[in-house]
Symmetry: C2
Subunit: 499 residues, 2 copies
Amino acid sequence: MDDLKRLKSLAAEIADIQAAIALLGWDQQTYMPSGGAEDRGDALSTLSNLVHQKITSPEMGQLLEDLRSQQDEMDPDSNDARLIKVTRRDYEKRVKVSSEWVKEFAKATTMAHSAWEEARKKSDFSIFQSHLENIVRLRRDYSSFFAPYDHVYDPQLDDFEPGMKTAEVQAIFTQVRPVQVSLIKRITAQTAVDDSFMRAHYDEKAQRDFGVEVISRFGYDWNHGRQDKSAHPFTQGFGIGDVRITTRVEPNRMATALFGTMHEAGHALYELGVDPSLRRTPMASGASMALHESQSRMWENLVGRSLAFWKFFYPRFQGVFHSQVEKVSLATFYRGINKVQPSYIRVEADEATYNLHIMLRLELEIALLEGSLAVKDLPQAWNQRMREYLGVIPPNDALGVLQDVHWSEGLFGYFPTYALGNLVSVQLWEVIQKDLPNLDKQMALGEFGELLSWLRQHVHRFGAKFEPQELVQKITGSKINPQPYLRYLQVKYGEIYHL
Amino acid sequence: MDDLKRLKSLAAEIADIQAAIALLGWDQQTYMPSGGAEDRGDALSTLSNLVHQKITSPEMGQLLEDLRSQQDEMDPDSNDARLIKVTRRDYEKRVKVSSEWVKEFAKATTMAHSAWEEARKKSDFSIFQSHLENIVRLRRDYSSFFAPYDHVYDPQLDDFEPGMKTAEVQAIFTQVRPVQVSLIKRITAQTAVDDSFMRAHYDEKAQRDFGVEVISRFGYDWNHGRQDKSAHPFTQGFGIGDVRITTRVEPNRMATALFGTMHEAGHALYELGVDPSLRRTPMASGASMALHESQSRMWENLVGRSLAFWKFFYPRFQGVFHSQVEKVSLATFYRGINKVQPSYIRVEADEATYNLHIMLRLELEIALLEGSLAVKDLPQAWNQRMREYLGVIPPNDALGVLQDVHWSEGLFGYFPTYALGNLVSVQLWEVIQKDLPNLDKQMALGEFGELLSWLRQHVHRFGAKFEPQELVQKITGSKINPQPYLRYLQVKYGEIYHL
């Protein structure tokens, strides 16, 4: 029993250091003056090393070994059994990777990130090419630490979706791709929707205030969070009692703050809903990136882009932004915020096109790691798929292969979680609609309490106790399944575009 | 040579963790939502323990031992020799204190702080009494770890003024007390100064903007700092590239933000001026609390309450706060901001009375530790000295013995540094006036560049390389000496009050 106590104490210490790391990062993106960058980099590196040392220490290894027999006698779904399991997983993954690799990777990504920034600025892929080649090599080496594996991409994916296999993701995306490609073709054959009101000038403070009103109604508790400004919106928790969001407001693109705020609030509500019994453990966060994204996308899209939601909020919106939308009917507004328009940039993509941006990236990541695609041929492969899936070709690499920061930071295996999140959001939503038959009526009254309670009860409280597929199975009766999302897209856009 | 490298690497790690602790504390007082308090307390405690473990580790002890011979061959004023000296000092102090004491003290002060808050609210010393008795006992135990000592108060003082002795402080204060008591008697016999304009309503934002203009002219670099709001103003650095201040604005007390901002900027300029070669070492901060206070008080009082300063700034001040001071002449304004008025509350005290508030506290702290005063008799002893030194008696304990937070946090030995800081500020100022004969003219033109350069050259760049007495000796040719301060008071208030 003393071993378990010691494990909990180590886990708590690690969680505390990670909370400090989280704050160093949050501050860096919100309030830190530029002159603090060098010291901040050092502090982040020292604290990250401390966490790594604590997780991979011989003491931790011995403890996990000693706890095996005890674990076998526990209820496998108990917090204690799961703490051991989750910690062991992290321990085993980390000890397999050589510290030389970690150092080389840190150096390579630092340089690659600078090169990528310059390459994107000049729209010149050649500046980034050798750096990306280096990163691909390092990511392949990373996989080799986990050999044997079914697929070279499995160890990449597993870092973000614990337990999930490349073959599973490919099987899912194979179902999604043709349906979305065909849907987009049918939509773009229709007359374009008028969404010019979305590019009018919207006062910055009024935009922020409106967002605050919306997420307060969602149930975001300001005693346990706050909203600040940052160049790229994000959510950051420091334990489960303080989960903050940031937002970016663009005066001539009101969708950025409006839907971005709901999106981040969705992430925050997830972590704020983790059961207090998981406090200061590695389970005090989301089950995976996809599950996290399922929550942000649910509040952003299934709630925030629904007609029911706007039945309540549109009169308020019109009251605040009178000059911009006084002549825009609710029907036009709803069509405008749901306009489908194939475009170059992932982060600006609508619900119907977004997943295709992801599939393209996943396919390219896999091809690079398999070695079937050379980095030098990447821009061409990118553009070819853009034409095939979305019917558009980026005019330059800045708007194409260089648009995302992820690869420059060495993030491989991350992209698919965005699309999986979309799929899971609707898979959950189908269950929610059965359990809460009056949800549409409630949303039309600006009431979200039952929805939030349902999410807390079925998703949030478990934190990262269960692996993502395990949790989805538990809630919906099946593993991640794309059919609900495809049904949803076809019904929603069938109506909007009279298909 | 490898030992020295290892020591530097350990020092850097410790500095990084302390930067994270600093940020956790800064955020707690500026932006943290209330719901984050529990996790924040845990994180602070874990990181403080980590620092303690690293400083007191057997490896550190061995390293310091192995470095002895190497140290003997170094220039004793070199950064390397001083790093070893300062680290050894910290190591030796910390290893002497038992971990049981640390735990008991942490618990006692947590409880005492809550009790003090309640006691002050109800103005009932009895609520706090047993807690303070416990703290006095623990502080006495603390001293015993350092026996033999010349005086039981020495180990308390040494935590804030490295190397300084109680006898030195007493000798200094013995010179100060009668002069200030007599000065105040002569002043209070005069007609009171009219400072009613200081309690007019001043717009909050305009107050903040004016403060920003002032400290920008002082040379506070916003690329290396920022100003936020907090209940109690403070300065916090995270390494020497990012030193932030906070301020509190009171609409009907314009002095709070005006002089508070200059005060905190003085602290910040000190740490921002530390030589980069001391980065990520324990020397990257001020030499002591008194030296730190000498810098804040210099900018607040010797600069900010001078006539020369206001020759430049008063027309600007009148431009911004037209309705409040249009009819107030510069002479009246100057007399108003320098009004002497014995009062109950230390933090509101003017330059002529401030030190007496400190002497009272020092004498009581010493008496409590020596055992010549019982905690239960403290309120009476407090009031008796207030009458004797300042000619006023607090109407209740909330305005008397319960006004300061320090004792509830177990801080003994801290108070004298406030008065020592005042003394040092003028001791330095006399040298500065010889070195910069045009300083008054420069200030009257709003120019502070030469002053800041002088401070950087003679004070700031050394950080905590030298002990406070050593540094003051180096700059002024003598140890801390109260005579310059007493001269300054007599000249300044002789003029203002026509004594």
